[in-house]
Amino acid sequence: MQSPSSQPSARREFFDGVRDQAPLLLGVVPFGLIFGALALQAGVSRLGAQGLSLFIFAGSAQFVSLNLIAANAPVAVMVFTVFVVNLRHVLYSASLSRHVRHLSAGWKALLAYLLTDEAFAVAQRRYLRPDLTLAHWYTLGTGLTLWVSWQVSTLVGILFGASIPAGWSLDFALPMTFLAMLLPALVDRPTWVAALSAAGLALALRPLPYNLGMVTAAMAAVGIAVLLERDR
């Protein structure tokens, strides 16, 4: 007979997920703090800044939104840009779909809402190990850990951000944030080509209004990288 402690339990899966997600918070919390502070500088209300974190819950898309809000872009442009920036989630969704097939619609919706870059990175490793009956509790643990940290760090950024003097050039934290998110994505030659051609095209298409040049450049660069990878 198995001892109770070695049996998989929902609670244990959940806290294993929390524990394994924790180290990645070091990369998430600074972005949350900076986001809260920059949102106020872009003219977003405190409630609006927290609302972006609560409803969209996707760091890079939220930062891009700030740029568009400051540029007074139309709603449709903002929604389309958020969609393109978040398209990568389709890949995560595809990768985890067979593991959530047996779950209720409520569980699927909850795990989908919590599906971020960092949570996916941790959760997908759990599915390589055996005993998957309760693994969705593990995934919930990773996602909730990240969610709580993102909401709290946004709130702290909102409360603290207003007291940062203009002389600190806090606006420069935005390109530095994108740089820090970009570097880990450069894992091989096609990803470098995607980033560099997107940068070059974005500069050429800068005259287009509302950062549409940025979205166009990104989509064209994805095409270039796909073709390059296929020809190799």
């Binding site: 070091l26 929604v79 398209l87 919706a109 560099l196 051609s197 997107a198 800068r206 990288a225 796909v226």
Partner: protein, 108 residues
Amino acid sequence: MSTTSFWLAVVGGMLVTFATRVSFFALPHLDRLPPLFLRGLRFVPAAVLGALLATLLATPIAELGWGTAWPRLAAAAVAGLAGLRTRNTWITIGLGMVTLWGLQAVLR
């Protein structure tokens, strides 16, 4: 941007973001999508972030001119090189900010 437009954009952003995340959970048969599309998804983060970074670094040059904007480019270069070596979020952002502050203090 008006309050109404802002919250419309937030709700729209929420819907499209959730759609990308729930896509294959709700419709597992999406794997019949063209393989080129699925392979392209891998490059979305690098492409989007590369385009964003270039746009954000070019904006001060266009608005303030090279004379005022060059410390930002120099700071970005330092942060980029340090970030490539360390792959550390804190070092990348921190060193970029510190380099900019240092240059601004020296040039004042």
